[in-house]
Subunit: 350 residues, 4 copies
């Protein structure tokens, strides 16, 4: 597809850490082309390269480097916008855009629990997009990407939920620095250290999976019934959230059945061969000491998750380890996959 046939998109919060990742991942994207970048008023008017404190290990794409940074107001030309806005401002700006007819794919927490907003993981609940079908042509909408820790967890839980049912989920996370954005965590705060607290994170992790794994009834999403307990920690790792998980199943299952449920897992993004979809969304590792953030966060360009160490649990039924790349699958990459699914379903048409 040539650029002129691609869907032009704008990036809200383009200079932030999620915004940078959107721009990095959308370079040469087959469906989308970054036409506009928008950020805070103090960046507006500068070129992108002047405004951004770029900290990724690739160069700024040349087609974006010299774009003029615009304000985050509803004068953008692109109907489709990706939002990497900070939650302190995302609530109002995203509402404004949706009301003005824009399609907002957001990585922020603010609208995740709005009743007309899907909280989407394309492999897990693609059907939740159906709550948008009552939107009239040309009407705006918001689609949200879950919290970076929730995405990896729910992807790993999905096959278990479908095959065996889930009663209880216990999770302790060891989360990467990039989850806090830039500048985020001070080096003096985390060097030779672990911080056993991330503001608001445990609440998200205990609540978001209930909507994501929920079912559609009467055109709204009914939350699923499951107990979740989360403990969230920040560790000195650059990228990749590691999670120690325990589950109590509704139906009995042996270890082989559970591993098979992961290894056989495939879903709509795979069938549709969406450009950012991993061939396999879940990799199970049999080595005792795997998965590890540095070795496995980049599986399938960071879009696949890694699972390992499945074993019996003396308290719940089973325990295992989950790893997901928090800024790719868990943020910008996941949001782009949402947009790809929306395009495939005709939701991005004018």
């Amino acid at each position: 597809m040539e650029n002129k046939n691609k869907i032009p998109v704008g990036i809200l919060g383009a200079t932030g850490s999620v915004g940078q990742k959107f721009i990095q991942l959308l370079k040469n994207h087959p469906y989308f082309t970054v036409q506009e970048v928008a950020a805070s008023d103090k960046s507006a008017g500068k070129t992108y390269v002047q405004a951004v404190n770029w900290f990724l290990d690739s160069r700024i794409p040349s087609e974006v480097a010299n774009l003029e940074v615009k304000k985050c107001d509803v004068n953008l030309k692109s109907r489709v916008v990706f939002s990497g806005l900070d939650s302190s401002v995302a609530g109002k700006i995203e509402s404004d855009f949706a009301q003005a007819g824009y399609i907002v794919i957001s990585n922020s927490k603010n609208h995740r629990f709005d009743t007309d907003v899907p909280l989407l993981i394309p492999e897990v609940n693609p059907d939740h997009l159906r709550i948008l079908r009552w939107k009239k042509t040309g009407q705006g909408m918001i689609v949200t990407n879950p919290n970076c820790s929730a995405i990896g967890l729910v992807l790993a839980l999905k096959p278990l939920y479908d095959k065996f049912g889930l009663e209880e989920v216990n999770v302790t996370t060891m989360q990467a620095l990039s989850g806090a954005g830039f500048p985020g965590v001070a080096s003096l705060a985390i060097a030779d250290n672990v911080i056993p607290y991330i503001a608001g994170e445990e609440e998200k992790l205990e609540k978001e999976p209930l909507k994501i794994l929920g079912s559609i009834e009467n055109n709204t999403i009914k939350f699923c019934d499951m107990k979740i307990s989360a403990q969230c920690n920040r560790v000195p790792v650059i990228d990749g959230h590691l999670e120690a998980v325990q589950v109590k199943l509704k139906k009995k299952a042996d270890i082989h059945e559970i591993i098979a449920s992961w290894e056989d897992f495939t879903a709509e993004p795979q069938k549709l061969k969406l450009p950012s979809a991993p061939e396999k969304a879940i990799y199970y590792f049999r080595e005792d000491e795997y998965p590890q953030p540095r070795l496995h966060r980049n599986l399938e360009h960071g879009m696949a998750i890694a699972v390992g160490r499945l074993r019996k649990c003396p308290i719940l039924d089973y325990k295992f380890i989950v790893l997901a790349h928090n800024t790719i699958r868990g943020a910008a990459g996941g949001a782009i996959l949402c947009a790809e699914l929306m395009k495939a379903k005709g939701l991005l048409e004018k």
Copy 2:
């Protein structure tokens, strides 16, 4: 007390990481003086300073630096020996010493479950030393210090166990590099990484607390009845094991009662004012983001543990964070405190 009135002791495995810590902590000790150092055959015959790859941030005590390293055989003059031997050799050597009449205070795992060996945390189960009272005068014995992760956990559990009873304990650890000894973990293996596996560690953490919290019946230790599930991870932190814990209590307790049980906790080492005993063994922190390894591992010279973030758990009853210095309270310092308690109880007399 002048040196000549102190109890002369030997260090087995003196060049290893636990051995180094024994020597560091025994410098100017009021009860004990290091008279002999013993290590592997390849070190034997050298002076200590020649044989050791010292990696602590204090200098080698001058009275030890020039001791000749001896072999770990039963020709040592010191009747009391501290063992920091690697578990690959500790089993036989420690047995040999005990049979030859030595008193062995060991940090190794090998004899922890022998029926005539206490697994001792002086604040938790000082009464377990009673199983040694049938030893005849001059007979040898082994007293063991628990695993470095178990010590912090059980210290935090002890007040809860006594006041409210414990049915289930769930723990996910984030363990420091020094727990693996020296050279231990390769820097390339752990830089920008977490390793979700420590060989043998989960088994120890699920089993040792049952003996430590057990009761004496018919002169043997009866294990307590409690379910424990552990997940152990290695994180890039130098010292200090952090543990995310959840408990199910036998009796109802509110948050204030639980915090009070920790803050009011005092035990025999405190009453006896043992030299290495912390004034308070448990510190509870009210700040959301505390305790942290780098900030709190050295509380009371590394002999106190830090607890924080007590809150309700949707699955078990409560969750909280525990931190202990793994090479001080969790290894050499803990073993020295055991020896101090034994001295106070007359067990080190000739």
Copy 3:
């Protein structure tokens, strides 16, 4: 000395990283007692414990925790103030205090090159305090502590300068995170990384030694004549600046003479037995791989420097390694030693 006989002091910039270190190091100080803490307007009015984001690994001293934070204006009761102010505000505030009759001992760069201000390392140029003797009784004054990298370097150079003369000094630094204050360097910026630039640092390191090693002529300090070239890098180390140094001497010297000049070095703070003075200011290590930040930064409570690896240089004459604790000897501790020297010389009397 009881508290009532101690000199009451105030801390300017008390909540910052240098301010915290002043408070930590002045706990139980024999000469000084912290009577007042002052900081920015947004902290003023709170208690210290409320205002500060304390990140040191000791507790806030209880006598300071509940002091009310004051504004940095000339209404403080303490005539002697230590300044850990940021250089963006230190210039004017310190001038105001000096003009109002206060004695300011400052860690900031702003007044280091004022002609009536000594740039003081007590072991190196204690005589520079003589330029203050023309101050009238009751008149205010400023004494400054050099840059954290310059202190270690000049301490190591001093014996060479005195014995052999110095023509050229080349230095490449590897500086710790704490040198940038708190929050300072973002963890994402420095994890798995080195940043080969520290704004303004090379200029300081090339200029400050010339004043410190200067001589007094006509009651002013005449800079010494020496070429210095510096390259400054930030490395992921918490504390301790390491410097790779090369020197060209004026007189021939062999390796033994140079090492002897370091090992024999003693100066006025040692003779006066000032409370913060190390017994020996310079330690020379003969081990190839020493000194190292983590192992040697705390020598003599962080007040001694470590030198090692002296060897011939194919371009200049000799090369060697210098290590100094940047927040103790290189900042707060160094400034306190300056104050102790001033007290010993009667400069703090009313």
Copy 4:
């Protein structure tokens, strides 16, 4: 080119860190296909996947995973072998292979100064391959890749040497962990630390450039005449050696001329469009704080070097920063580029 038309190669020391990198980089190589892997006797007989402790962040190529590991003796079928052998064994094994008619491209130090062995950086001294032309058809030979720190340095020096001449080069390195192989540096030795010593490294860095930049006279390599002084440090960075360099030129040059000499630099690998050759071998960065290991080590897949911060030096003429990926450009990738150049010059024909 289909696999059957590719040159089959063997890897000596295939399980080590350089061996792993060879295998990773040779996956899908257009000229070469890995046909044999050889390692120590204790690995021989196992499959590669069984024998190796793979620590790279890509999977083991499937065509190599199940190869049987052979011994490093002269019974290999592949005439061309890449050697990642440890220097403790490389000397004899590589000699044996060369005498038996093999073509050995080695990353080890042992034969770098043999008179009939080129020390090759394809962009710098491709003409040095001429010393091999007197070899008879079928005769074996050794070509060596320089030390990982020397490669980056000499690449940066080459344009200056050619245009302005070099009298003196001063360099202080900050070298990555992967330079020490696996397991290499213990995590406890380097966490929160810098080690100012790497055994043998300074000698290599002071000597190898003299041969690489040497000229051919009478069919032997005449070393160039230049003074080099090196100080080598190990820093906690995974990949990427950073070097602070100073030079004294023979001819005057201004800053623009020097930068132009880097930016205009192109050489034989670029002209021949060798598969591993970067489009540009040297990137000059104008940002003050660049280059940095984490951000720039992967420029052109790790085969380009980054240079920055050129400025006047008060002692020599100029100072600047150089960065090179030590295991790619500085080891396996550099050696593969050597082999590509040899193929282009007809040296790999039977």
